[in-house]
Symmetry: C2
Subunit: 340 residues, 2 copies
C-alpha cells in the first residue's frame, strides 16, 4: 500500500509507492519502450489489456471495453494512489503521513498509436478536454479528495512511460504544496486588492504586448514572463473563472483549436520536443479547509505547457531557481508565426 508523507521541514508531500514496480536493485533509468502496436495496451482492439474503462466517448451503442471509441479513460494499471484505500491521517512527532487514498487515471487520447495530441482534429482534442472536465466533476464527489491534477507527459524526457498519446489524472487526499503556494498567493493578493492576480497579470501583459503570442475573445496565449523552460507557454481564459470544469463545451472547442496550433508550432519549430502540459485548476470543493475560502473570486484556471529542451539539474532542485537560455520575448516572436 502506498502512503503520502510530508517533509518535516518544508512541508513538501511525496507519495511512497512501492508497488509502482521498480525493483529495489534496479541499475539504470529504464527507458521503457513499447512501440509495437500489438503490445500497446492503449491501442484499439487491446481494450482487455487495461483495467475496465471508467468512461469512453465513441460510437453510439458501443459496448464498454470494445473497439469503436475516440477517447477512453481507464484506471492506471500501476496506480500511485487507490480509491479503495481507507483514508487515514496520522502524525508522530514531526512526521506526518496520509494513506494512499486517491485516484490515478489514464486518458487515452486516441485509438491510434501513431498520432499525437496536436495531430488530432479539433473535435477530437475537444473530446480529450471534455474527458478531463467530466472526470474532475466526478472526482469532486469524493469528499476524501482535495485536489485533482490533470497533466500530460509527452516523450520519455518528459516522463512518459508509453508512447501512445495519453494524459493522466491524479487525485490526492491533501492539497499539494505547489498548488497551495499558488492558491495562497492569489488569495493574499485578492484580500489586499480585491482583484484576481491572474486577471491583473493578463491585463498587464495585454498592455505590454511583448509576450502575447495570441489572443481572441476568450483566451490569451502568453510566453510566460518568468518562463522556467525555453518556449514555456501559458494559456489563460480572459473571463475570470476558478474551475476548468465549468468551461462550456463551446469554449473547450476554441481552446482545442489553440492547443492544436501551439503543439503544431512546437513540432514545426522545435522538432517535436518532449513536453509537460499542466492544468492549474482550483482545488476540489466538497471539503474546504481554510486556505481557499474565496477561491471562486481569487483563483483563475489556466494551462502551463513546458517543453523539455533543457535538463533540470542540481541547481534547480536546490533552489527552485531555473536557468532558461531563451528569452520569453524571443520565444513569443517565434511562436507568434504559428498563430497567424
Amino acid at each position: 500500500m502506498s502512503e503520502l508523507r510530508r517533509d518535516p521541514i518544508v512541508g513538501r508531500w511525496v507519495i511512497i509507492a512501492p508497488e509502482r514496480g521498480l525493483r529495489p536493485h534496479f541499475a539504470k533509468v529504464e527507458a521503457r519502450k513499447n512501440s509495437k502496436i500489438e503490445n500497446c495496451p492503449f491501442c484499439e482492439g487491446n481494450e482487455s489489456k487495461t483495467p475496465p474503462e471508467i468512461i469512453a466517448y465513441g460510437a453510439p451503442g458501443r459496448e464498454p471495453n470494445t473497439p469503436g471509441w475516440d477517447v477512453r479513460v481507464i484506471p492506471n494499471k500501476f496506480p500511485a494512489l487507490r480509491v479503495e484505500a481507507d483514508i487515514e491521517r496520522l502524525g508522530f512527532g514531526l512526521l506526518d503521513k496520509v494513506s494512499g487514498t486517491g485516484a490515478h487515471e489514464v486518458v487515452v487520447e486516441t485509438p491510434r498509436h501513431d498520432i499525437t495530441l496536436g495531430e488530432l482534429s479539433e473535435d477530437n482534442i475537444t473530446l480529450v478536454l471534455r474527458a478531463w472536465k467530466e472526470r474532475i466533476i466526478d472526482l469532486d464527489k469524493d469528499d476524501r479528495l482535495r485536489y485533482a491534477l490533470v497533466f500530460k507527459n509527452k516523450g520519455i524526457e518528459a516522463g512518459a512511460s508509453l508512447p501512445h498519446s495519453h494524459s493522466q489524472i491524479i487525485a490526492t487526499p491533501i492539497t499539494p504544496m505547489v498548488v497551495k503556494e499558488e492558491l495562497n498567493a492569489s488569495k493574499e493578493y485578492y484580500c489586499e486588492k480585491e482583484r484576481c492576480i491572474f486577471c491583473d497579470y493578463v491585463y498587464q501583459e495585454l498592455r505590454d504586448k511583448k509576450r502575447v503570442i495570441y489572443q481572441d475573445e476568450h483566451y490569451v496565449v502568453l510566453s510566460a514572463y518568468a518562463a522556467r523552460f525555453p518556449y514555456e507557454v501559458w494559456i489563460l481564459p480572459k473571463e475570470h473563472l476558478a474551475d476548468f470544469q465549468l468551461v462550456s463545451d463551446e469554449k473547450l472547442y476554441i481552446l482545442a483549436g489553440l492547443l492544436k496550433k501551439l503543439l503544431g508550432g512546437y513540432k514545426e519549430i522545435l522538432g517535436d520536443p518532449p513536453y509537460n502540459l499542466l492544468l492549474h485548476n482550483a482545488p476540489l470543493r466538497t471539503p474546504r479547509p481554510g486556505y481557499w475560502l474565496t477561491v471562486e473570486e481569487d483563483y483563475h484556471w489556466h494551462f502551463e505547457i513546458l517543453p523539455r529542451l533543457t535538463r533540470v539539474a542540481g541547481f534547480e532542485w536546490g533552489t527552485g531557481f531555473y536557468i532558461n537560455p531563451v528569452t520569453p520575448e524571443h520565444a513569443c516572436k517565434v511562436l507568434k508565426k504559428v498563430f497567424k
Copy 2:
C-alpha cells in the same frame, strides 16, 4: 546579459540567460559529450582551456594555471550570472527583475579524467569540501549577493554537461524561493518552540532508528523520511550549526569519509547512478533582510543527495509532489551495509 525574473504569481525566480549558448532553434536535448581527454578543459595540462583559476590546491610553489593541482576552482566559461554586472533591481507593475549579478564557479575535483568524487581519497575529498568552504567565505564579502548554492550534478541524467568530476557554486543576488521556504519554516518553528527544527528531526530519527543509516560522534546519515527519490540521503551535523563554512577542517575530513562511503555504496548497489548533491546552507550574511534574523539559532546546514533513478514528470512539476517507488526504510536497510 542575463537577468533574474520573478514569477508574478508564486514568486519563483528564474535566470533568463540567453548567452548560455543554446541556439533558438535547437531541435533536441543535446547530450554534450566530451570524453576525450585532450579536449577536456578540466584535465591536468589543459589549464589554458578555462578562464584563469580563482583558487587551486596543489604542490607548493606551483604557478597558477599550470599542472600540479589537486583541486582547482575556475569561473564557469558560460556563466548564468556575472560578478562584473552592476546590480539593478527593477519592478514594473506585477513584473520584477534583477540584473544577472552573481557568480558561477566550477570546482574541478580532481586532475584525472577517469575518477569520480567517491573514488578520490578521503584527503582529496576533504580538499573539495575545503574549496567549497573557502569560496563561500569569499563570496560572502560581496554585499550584493544573498545566497551561494553549492551543488554537484553527476551524470548526464542529473544535468552534468561534462563528464570530468566537478561541482559548481552559483551565488545569487536574491534568496531563491526554495531556500526561503526552508529558512522561513525553520524560523517559524524556532519562534514557536525555541528549538531548531533540524535538531528536533535528528533527535526523533535517532530515537526511531528506522531511517538511520549511520551515525558517529559528529554526523548522522539519514534515509530521508519524505524522500523524493529512491535512496535519497541527508547528512546532518549533530552539532547545531547554521553555516557550512564554519565547519573545522578536522570535521570536514570526517564528512569526507562519510561521503566516500555513501557514494561508494551508490556505485555498488545502484550501479553508479546519476545524482545531485546539494549543500543546504544558511544565506550569506553581509546583507540581512527580515527573514533570517535568528538564522544562527534556527537554521542547520546539511547535505541532500538525490540519486536520479526515476524521471521527474508533469505530476511533479505541477504539484511539487514526488512519487518514490522505494520506501525510505528499505533504502536504509540496503545502505546500512555499506557503512559497516
